[in-house]
Subunit: 456 residues, 2 copies
């Protein structure tokens, strides 16, 4: 009873600034390019869609720390600081000499780390006179987080939700509606993009690509009043998520340890960046630190592990700026795994540069290994993890078992980005034996990447 399992920070110890890794990177990321002019995008161009402040943050390469507004800190207080937990139960189950810690972002009211960015994004929109925000959502994590944040600041929130999810997975939709957001099945008749596809394919089930097009169109056709918010990939989203790692850094000090390995699952890269960047800055400054930063990817969508580094679009239709990224090709359609948040073809520009320069390594995880890790974790630590987070758990377990094999004690830190209570349908399929692995084949990879050569 005399050991500490959870390392807590009071609200008074909550970080008051986010960490902007771009200021410290040994090699700066290449600029995003306007696809027409091939010139670096400007804050003016970005702020057609995003808030002015988010646009400036997106391009900020100089300020190491950026103040968190008081209004944002007030809402962070609802659940932050989140606990850092020593996974004694998992260590015992694995019989490993490794010390395993996880940052428990699942205690957020929406069950994931996404609120860390939806709150500042909504705040900046409100502060700049915007009345409406919009976004797209597939499984619903990001849409849920934006629904709460927008409403907390008195904004109208419109979420375009992929039609098949809208119909088959009503519960996340219900959460968004409970917060007071308007949720629209996409494709809808309310936008040109939606109407075009509905009239062409009357029973179309929707796709994330179409939902993005609808949300972007709504923002573009409602200038000044309506902004678009994104939940990952962009540098300003990663910036907001650094509060995870800044807290974890203080908490690891309380625990008297420093991580040898930092792991997070990797979709667009925001929760990974959030936990990794604050520790990585010490590696920049001190070459003797050998901390490994591992991006845990699904084997069906392994952009860091197997993708190529080049300019590509952030979306399937080619609406975004050209982003310097590790990518599987913007037209890549990943297998329909249950970790929906990881089914994204590319990585953000900062993470991609860091991976290119050897600061980040990728590790790909098959779906069955991820669920197996999830159950081991749930039985040992009581928390049912999100299928996305389970990829990080799987890599942490791999590394802990290596420690056991080699008789070496290492300190492993992973980010538990969310709980899986809204994802039990996928557990049902796993428990029923219905799930299969679907690793990306070399042929699929080459076909998708070959199509990319036409871009630049």
């Amino acid at each position: 009873m005399d050991y500490t399992k959870k390392f807590l920070l009071s609200e008074q110890d909550m970080p008051r600034q986010w960490y902007n890794i771009a200021a410290d990177m040994p090699v700066k990321p290449l600029p995003m390019l306007n696809p027409e002019t091939r010139q670096p995008v400007t804050a003016d161009e970005l702020s057609v869609l995003f808030s002015r402040e988010a646009s400036l943050q997106e391009l900020n390469m100089t300020d190491r720390f950026i103040d968190i507004p008081n209004e944002v800190l007030d809402l962070y207080k609802i659940w932050r600081c989140t606990p850092l937990v020593r996974a004694y139960g998992l260590e015992k189950a694995l019989d490993t000499p490794a010390h395993i810690y996880f940052k428990n972002e699942s205690v957020s009211p929406v069950g994931s780390h996404k609120l860390n960015s939806s709150i500042p994004q909504a705040f900046y929109c409100k502060a700049e006179g915007t009345t409406n925000v919009t976004t797209e959502t597939g499984a619903g994590q990001w849409g849920t987080a934006l629904s709460y944040a927008g409403k907390a600041f008195g904004l109208e929130v419109a979420v375009y939700m992929v039609k098949v999810s809208f119909e088959q997975k009503p519960y996340r939709r219900n959460i968004m509606q409970s917060y007071g957001a308007t949720v629209i099945a996409s494709p809808s008749m309310s936008t040109r993009a939606g109407r075009e596809i509905i009239t062409k394919y009357p029973n179309y089930a929707g796709s994330l690509g179409t939902a993005i097009s609808e949300a972007v169109e709504l923002a573009r056709t409602t200038p000044e009043k309506c902004k678009y918010c994104l939940g990952s990939t962009m540098s300003h989203v990663s910036l907001h998520q650094t509060i995870i790692g800044l807290e974890a850094e203080k908490q690891m000090e309380l625990a008297g340890e420093y991580p040898d390995i930092v792991v997070a699952c990797f979709g667009g890269g925001s929760n990974f960046s959030g936990i990794a960047f604050p520790f990585m800055r010490h590696s920049f400054a001190d070459p003797s630190l050998k901390t490994r930063f591992i991006a845990a990817e699904p084997s069906s969508c392994p952009k860091i592990t197997r993708g190529v580094f080049q300019y590509d679009f952030g979306d399937q239709k080619g609406y975004t700026p050209l982003i310097p990224m590790f990518t599987l090709g913007h037209a890549f359609a990943p297998a329909s795994i249950h970790a929906g948040g990881l089914r994204y073809h590319g990585a953000g520009s900062i993470v991609s540069q860091l991976a290119k320069d050897g600061w980040i390594e990728g590790a790909d995880v098959d779906q069955l290994e991820a669920f197996d890790a999830a159950l081991q974790f749930a039985r040992a630590e009581a928390i049912i993890p999100a299928p996305e987070s389970s990829h990080a758990i799987a890599v942490a377990i791999r590394e802990a078992l290596k420690c056991k094999r080699d008789g070496v004690k290492k300190t492993i830190l992973f980010n538990l980005s969310g709980h899986g209570l809204m994802d039990m349908a996928s557990y049902d399929r796993y428990l029923s034996g219905d799930l299969k692995n679907s690793p990306l084949t070399d042929d699929e990879l080459h076909t998708s990447i070959d199509s990319l050569e036409k871009i630049i």
Copy 2:
């Protein structure tokens, strides 16, 4: 930013003892009776079904504090101490001078307070050489909590789940299975009770009464090796839940306030007892304390508000001891509201005696008022509450609005017993306008209570 929203306690400040209110009650509860002999039940009789230690706790009227075993404290550390939260957002939305606090039990890995008792119950079974535990579950809250706790101590767990829930609400079943429990649709062919009803009514959808019968039969027919665990009503369950109020007491001190009103929803009474008893002991000792303790009940099942005080059975079939209780009659079938955890006909013996003696008041809440309160709370405090907990929120809001009307500042404390993320189907129905109120009519009440007179 300089105010405190969440009052935290470290693991080192966690209470090491539960509070046994029976030792302090001005009028002791009447004994439970063996229905055949009409003599007070003994620990020997109770421990046929329950662990020996739980049976002794059930009858303990003398020890004010009972040690929490170290093994239980170790597992409590996974999520305890839970935060005490000042509901600034809700206060602002209501524009009330009242100070509203809630104890956030929803941060438990299973999303409710139920782990507080499942862990010690499973521990005592393990310590006494039991290898299996069993219980019944309707919506699944208790079954989930026992599934984790049993497995944590290496016990086999069998949960009889009402068949219609097993089929229509697979997600809580999936959580139990993820923890490694065996979940059996009830009625099943594995017990005599199940076989009898299946063969008589081949398509029977199941009921909590039948599931109880099956679990009890399994325990009785597997003596020594298999014990039965209950999630509410019993005094030992309330004892375990007092950790909620013991923590809240310390946290209210940190906040520099003492509650004028303590509210919790009321099903069998365990979460209510948990938050109320530690404060009530001060009211026993100091007559100048005028704290009100309010049991928030559904208007469809208002035993404290409208029931009668007399001996009755705890279950529909009449298998339990006779319990001195506020009851609507053990054959009472409450309307099918969504707060499944509150659909119970009676209150435990301690709570009933306290209500009889004026220490507890009841307040009944219609289903629509509860959901309306839930949405107000979710939009103000970000957390989607369980439908059960929403009854407590509704009463807290009523009292806060009275404060506003009267221009009086009162301190209101309620227990948020769980989150509603597994209950979004009921929110869906509410948001769709499909839900109706179903208050108990006088005719229904009298019919049910009249049938009771035959018992004693």
